[in-house]
Amino acid sequence: MSLTQTSERARRRDYRIPLGILLFSVALAAPFIGSRYVVHALIIALVFMLPAHGLNLLVGYTGLLSLAQAAFFGIGAYTAGLLAIGYGTPFYVNAVVAGLAAGAVALPLGVPALRLRSTSFVMCTLGFVIIGQAIAKNWISVTRGDMGLSGIPKPYFELGPLSFTVGGTTGFYYLALAIGILATLAVFAVVRSPAGRNMVAIRENETLAESLGVPTWHYKLIVFMLSAVFAGVGGSLYAHYLTVVSPLTFQMYYSTTMLIIVLGGGAGMISGTIFGSLLFVGLTEALRITPELRMIAYGLCLLVLVFWFKQGFAPVINRVWNAIGGAK
């Protein structure tokens, strides 16, 4: 029995590694293949992939449906923008501080919010976005109110004696790609660790997980903060790329976009989030679809996902991937 299986395997070659390398080289070569606009669309997709990765940890692995991601995204964007304008700090400092700031804000917000369940938790997280927008509009001495922050400088690096500025679309694309890959590896490490298995246990049955000795409360709080850190780093990329941050960074539109990336790609799957951000943000941006039409498409997608494709579209992709790759 086992012998026949081995021979079967031997005949079918596993193409997944070469295919992965091919896709990676396409990603590397994208600025030379695609037009400037396509590269712009890819950057936007990569920017949104970060908060979506965080949300995936929260929704997909721990089972907490949150709409607060836009609030942390906005906090990250404002932190990075203020640092870059006020102190002219290098990009990596901005990104790290933005992530930490978002994570630090998530702690006092998470403590009360995570005591709530299902719908109440969703509404509470929605409240964070609304209140965040009000603060960004009214704390004029810091955020400049409705005018927002403008003229955020291009990201620049200072590595010992070497200092350089990342200018132009191509340069920024590689920066976003590098951060995107780092973030994906970080999520991968979290998910594959024992902590990741505990998170899944909380998603599947919180009471049972707790009875087996998983400190569910700490896990939920840490994952909530971790998702905020991802959103904050994404926000710093956003601020540096668009060079403008306004109170409208705190809006439901962004939370919904991140949610649709995660659910549409397939919650609880890393490949799903990557695929989702390319499909729902990259493709719609590349096709220059108007925001209204895009939101209608998102809305219809949500309905289809809730009632028909509960797993998102990633399982379909995975099946194709395995079929091409030749795995059983």
Binding site: M123, I131, A134, T290, E292
Partner: protein, 290 residues
Amino acid sequence: MVSTLIEQIVNGIVTGSVYAIVAVGMTMIFGVLRAINFAHGEYYMLGTFGAWFAIDYLGLSYEASIVVGILSTIVIAYVVGQLVMRRMVGAPAESGVLATLGIALVLQNTVILVFGGGYKFFSGGYIEPVSILGFSLAEQRVLILVVCLLVFIGLELMVTHSRMGKAMRAVSQNVECCEVVGIDVPQVVLRTFILGAALAALSGVLTAPVNVSVYGGMGELITFKTLPIIIMGGLGNVRGTFFAAMILGIAESLVATYVGLQYRDTVGFATLILMLMWRPHGLFSTQARF
């Protein structure tokens, strides 16, 4: 000083009436479906747009436009109810949130796509001031107050006396038992949903002359105002919703006068978060039901 205060409270009560008519539909839908309808404000917007369309394009009078606004909303609500809301019976809370968010996105952006995203002027309504007890109040505001009272008296009677009201209460208590005794649960859900949407549209049409401007994003704002109200009132509690809406309306109008207009829209959500922390079962009930 005192007269400003009283004026603001009266204004708050009018605003509260507007919220109350929208929120009561939302809370009744929660009662039968156990799902927060994040799209509820969109029916308010649809009603207003229906009336605006009737006045601006069809040249109808304001009275006729009320009927057009509500009827068009009922038709849309029927379609949404048949396609989506009926499927939500017994579904987990998360899918209710996601499905209604999806509906909100579709309805809001379809309207923006068809009519454009700009502000539109709503002409019509009774804006002549009348004097009551020394206060001058626009006729339209008096109308809103009267309609609000009539709606709540009507709903109270319906819920306690009519067959439909009894079925609604039964469904909100136990879905399985309703199926056993032969209550058509999806039918009750559909009817409650349409009733709620029609009430939201009624509120929208009545408020339009006061707000003057009509735009596609107005529904979302109302949804965010009514979410705290239905939590404060105790989910599924019709009478509690009425008082909660009044409290929030008055609080908003006082904050706008004495703290600053820009903080008005956060009162609701600040209240919501405080409510969820300390009294998630609402101000008017003693035990948590959900």
